[in-house]
């Protein structure tokens, strides 16, 4: 009983809450899908929303837990997505089983994204604050540009690659994997909601386990007070690199699931705006608050869809809602007012 308690409560309480909510949501959604009660619009959103939640959790690891602002995380999602497309397409004859191929693609995407994450972290983590943020923005743009100018084809002779100009000459039966700005076309849509949820569950385990470990504590210490952390023997750059690379890997994995959900995928989709969107999900859910991220991402991705009836005005309302929420959650006057209201409702006497 004690062991059970230890695994589900105490330190692991938040992990349990997140897992429970995700599992319950999954079961409910699956039931609704089987009984045909879900609109196709909603069904089409299942994989994207789950992917975004995973990326947002990954970003929260960097922004909330590690305390560094990353403005280019869509780049890691992009790397994952296109790696996934390449792997899935290239192995389609070797591995007919879609699920196995998808999992292989996810692993590949995570590894490639992690490698890029490591390479990028070398310059990035030498900087601090806004300068660090700007370099992550720069890298996001560079990644987008690189993929935009990549022409990668695959045929019976193997891979064919050209840069900036398309000089790829495919034999019959060959396929363009990445066609420059056009990106990936004719991809087999092998992503499933179930696999996406599984990846989300794995992510929750990985992130919470990381936070509740010496590595997590070191990262948070480095975030809270750099100089004190160094005086306690913590190598700041090494610690933050671990969190950054882990985050890149998770974002890459999410990118695979996202990318293999669409038959066409353009590199321009993963731009600065996308990075900012994910950042908004994270900040609104609460820095370092993983459960908050799951809720905020779900709501914010669904909100524009729910507001579709407002036609052109929906993004405008979205923007206003965003501004109002930020003001409400940050203005001390309003916060004080709300606190007073709560105190009144609890029946606490307030002698002022």
């Amino acid at each position: 009983m004690d062991k059970l308690k230890k695994h589900f409560l105490g330190q692991n309480k938040n992990r349990t809450i997140c897992l429970s909510v995700v599992l319950i949501a999954y079961i409910v959604i699956e039931i609704l899908m089987q009984t045909g009660s879900l609109k196709s619009l909603f069904i089409n959103l299942l994989v994207p929303v789950t992917s975004y939640i995973i990326v947002a959790l990954a970003l929260n690891l960097v922004v909330g837990v590690s305390g560094e602002l990353s403005l280019g995380h869509a780049g890691f999602m992009s790397i994952g997505a296109f790696t996934g497309v390449i792997v899935a397409n290239v192995t389609s004859s070797m591995i007919p089983n879609d699920i196995v191929r998808l999992i292989l693609a996810i692993i590949a995407g995570a590894i490639v994204a992690a490698i890029f994450g490591f390479l990028i972290s070398i310059p990035v983590l030498k900087l601090q604050g806004d300068y660090l943020a700007i370099v992550t923005l720069a890298f996001g743009q560079i990644i987008k540009s690189l993929i935009n100018n990549t022409f990668l084809g695959f045929d019976s002779n193997g891979f064919h690659f050209s840069f900036i100009t398309n000089t790829v000459d495919l034999a019959t039966g060959g396929k363009m994997l990445i066609n420059g700005p056009i990106g990936a076309t004719a991809t087999d849509r092998i992503s499933t909601f179930t696999i996406a949820i599984l990846l989300l569950i794995v992510t929750i385990f990985v992130i919470f386990n990381f936070i509740n470990s010496a590595h997590g504590r070191n990262v948070m210490a480095a975030r809270d007070d750099r100089i004190a952390a160094q005086s306690a023997g913590i190598d700041i750059v090494k610690t933050k690199t671990i969190a950054f690379v882990l985050s890149a890997a998770i974002a890459g994995a999410a990118g695979v699931v996202y990318g293999l959900n669409f038959s066409t995928l353009v590199p321009a989709k993963f731009d600065f705006n996308q990075s900012i969107l994910i950042l908004v999900y994270v900040v609104l859910g609460g820095l370092g608050n993983m459960f908050g991220t799951i809720i905020s991402t779900t709501l914010l991705v669904l909100l524009p869809e729910l507001l579709r009836f407002l036609a052109n005005y929906r993004m405008l309302i979205y923007a206003v809602v965003l501004i109002v929420i930020m003001i409400f959650t940050n203005n001390p006057t309003i916060q004080g007012y709300i606190k007073k209201l709560i105190k009144k409702n609890r029946g606490e006497v307030n002698h002022e």
Binding site: K126, Y131, Q141, I142, N149, V283, L316, V320, M326, I334
Partner: protein, 293 residues
């Protein structure tokens, strides 16, 4: 000779970036926030100027005045409504709010004026001059742009250093609380900062549209990102930094487009930025901020 031509074009583009970057750097230095909506104020300025000239057939000069007026008011309004309530909040919260304002402006523009791209009329065509036995052709507008940029920088620097308001701005950038105790109205100072930045954005928008005449709701996005990059590149919070950063970015972008690849020019510019920051972690002209232990 061709190089010189590209250099001058680059300086022209860089001047526009510098003027925009000034808005970012001043607001950062004094209000301690990254105003992501700045690029979209430029967009509004472009539309105002466009309508003045294309719809109402008013002379270019009126368009300039109208644009500056609208942008200045818009900047001050945004500050009062969206940023002022968050003065004590974390930088990240203000950043998100600025993003909200940016979405608002972009989508508002879409609703009001449509998503189609309008073409800015050639009102400010000042022709070209030829030098060195017709080997070098320079657009007069480019030269005018560079001159305007230099004039603005000099005027702004004098303003900051010699006037009472300028002193107030410097005080606020150092320590808002103490400035307030010294009798400086922080609210007024910040409003003036936004007013100046937004007014300059209007000027930048007209210069931008005269060379790149496409007007659409997202026109401010890329120049905004680049100018923000330039401001950080030069050392965020520093006026001379915005000037140097903007010019260098413009030159880099133009040369990269000309000599390496048009499609990769952005990536190259960002790569150079990264390299510079690795050598000088607080930007070219930025100050080293050391923490007191």
């Amino acid at each position: 000779m061709e190089f010189l031509s590209f250099l001058i074009t680059g300086l022209g583009l860089g001047s526009v970036y510098a003027i925009i970057a000034l808005g970012y750097t001043m607001v950062y230095g004094i209000a301690k926030m990254l105003n992501f909506a700045h690029g979209d104020v430029i967009m509004v300025g472009s539309y105002v100027a466009f309508f003045m000239v294309a719809q109402f057939n008013l002379p270019g000069v009126v368009a300039i005045f109208a644009s500056v007026l609208v942008c200045t008011l818009l900047g001050v309004l945004i500050e009062r409504l969206a940023y002022k309530p968050l003065r004590e909040a974390s930088t990240l919260s203000v950043l998100i709010t600025a993003i909200g304002v940016s979405y608002f402006l972009q989508n508002g523009a879409q609703i009001l004026w449509g998503t189609d791209t309008k073409i800015f009329p050639n009102v400010f065509d000042l022709g070209t001059i030829s030098l060195f036995d017709n080997q070098l052709h320079i657009s007069v507008l480019t030269l005018v742009t560079i001159v305007i940029c230099i004039v603005i920088i000099v005027a702004l620097t004098l303003f900051i250093n010699k006037t009472k308001t300028g002193k107030a701005m410097r005080a606020c950038s150092e320590d808002k609380a103490t400035a307030q105790l010294m009798g400086i109205s922080v609210d007024k100072t910040i409003s003036i900062t936004f007013a100046i930045g937004s007014g300059l954005a209007a000027i930048a928008s007209i210069l931008l549209c005269s060379t790149y005449p496409a007007v659409n709701p997202t026109l401010g996005s890329m120049p905004g990102i680049k100018a923000f990059t330039a401001a950080v590149f030069g050392g965020i919070g520093s006026i001379s930094g915005a000037f140097v950063g903007g010019l260098l970015l413009g030159i880099l972008e133009t040369l990269a487009k000309a000599y390496i690849s048009s499609q990769m020019s952005d990536a190259i510019v960002f790569l150079v930025l990264i390299i510079v920051l690795l050598i000088k972690p607080t930007g070219l002209l930025g100050k080293e901020i050391s923490e007191k232990v």
